[in-house]
């Protein structure tokens, strides 16, 4: 019984496919959408952002130094790789997406496509 419970626990907490869905904020201004995600423990080279068929995928691999349980004496968190998928529609100019990672915070800027930008409508007044 004890062994089974221990095995259950091991399977639940030490899986290879576990991911963390990072907390995100999305802001909007006239020309772009800004997506901010918290991804502590991810180095720039281990981050992968792909845009395919209106799907934006963010994958961040946590550096092994933060995953090791060696010499761990007290635990409040467990890190897994980060993964999150977004649906993006025509309002975004997919070619102009930029991203930067600074101090564990990923900022993705999605510029609006021309048709989604606010337009000023001229009023013609008949004389």
């Amino acid at each position: 019984m004890t062994t089974e419970v221990k095995k259950l626990k091991t399977d639940a907490y030490h899986c290879n496919e576990c991911v963390i869905v990072p907390a995100i904020d999305i802001y909007e201004d006239a020309n772009e959408f800004v997506l901010t995600a918290d991804m502590p423990g991810v180095a720039r080279e281990d981050l992968e952002i792909t845009m395919k068929d209106n799907t934006l995928t963010v994958d961040g691999k946590v550096s092994p130094a933060y995953l090791s349980a060696e010499d761990l004496k007290y635990r409040e968190y467990t890190l897994y790789n980060f993964h999150r998928v977004f649906q993006v529609d025509d309002a975004v100019n997919a070619g102009g997406i930029t991203a930067k990672l600074d101090n564990g915070v990923l900022v993705i800027t999605l510029p609006k496509s021309e048709k989604a930008k606010p337009r000023k409508i001229e009023i013609t007044v008949e004389k």
Partner: protein, 136 residues
């Protein structure tokens, strides 16, 4: 013969064991002050990893008070003025006290930050090292 054995200790111990199942079952449900930390210990040195992405260096203050390490600071919102579509991250002031397992050398404390993780390294104080006592 020379122990302070008390049968009630065992009975209360059983109750603690059962209570423990309920408090430890869902470690993620426990109320933990921000930031979440992991504490590592090796060869008379303690390393603390604290997850605090997006907190500026000058917004963090680390203090040693007795045997506690106090991490204090503020996480400032990064896009506060823009209209938001979705908001899942949280910001604000925080203060956390970590009880250290032994006295540490106050001179050799180092703190670094990498990838949004604050790494604090503390060495065991010479006074806390084991000392052999000669019998005269």
């Amino acid at each position: 013969m020379y122990t302070n054995y008390d049968i009630f200790d065992d009975m209360l111990g059983l109750r603690n064991t059962i209570d423990g199942y309920f408090s430890n079952l869902a470690p993620r449900e426990r109320a933990i002050d921000y930031p979440h930390i992991n504490l590592y210990e090796k060869d008379n040195a303690i390393t603390i990893h604290a997850l605090m992405p997006g907190v500026a260096n000058d917004a963090i203050s680390i203090q040693l008070v007795d045997n506690s390490l106090i991490i204090e600071g503020e996480r400032k919102p990064d896009y506060a003025d823009k209209p938001y579509i979705r908001r899942e991250r949280s910001f604000g002031k925080f203060k956390k006290s970590i009880r250290l397992p032994y006295a540490v050398n106050r001179e050799t404390v180092t703190a670094a930050r990498r990838d949004g993780v604050l790494i604090i390294t503390l060495q065991k104080s010479p006074e806390a090292l084991p000392r052999k006592i000669e019998i005269k």
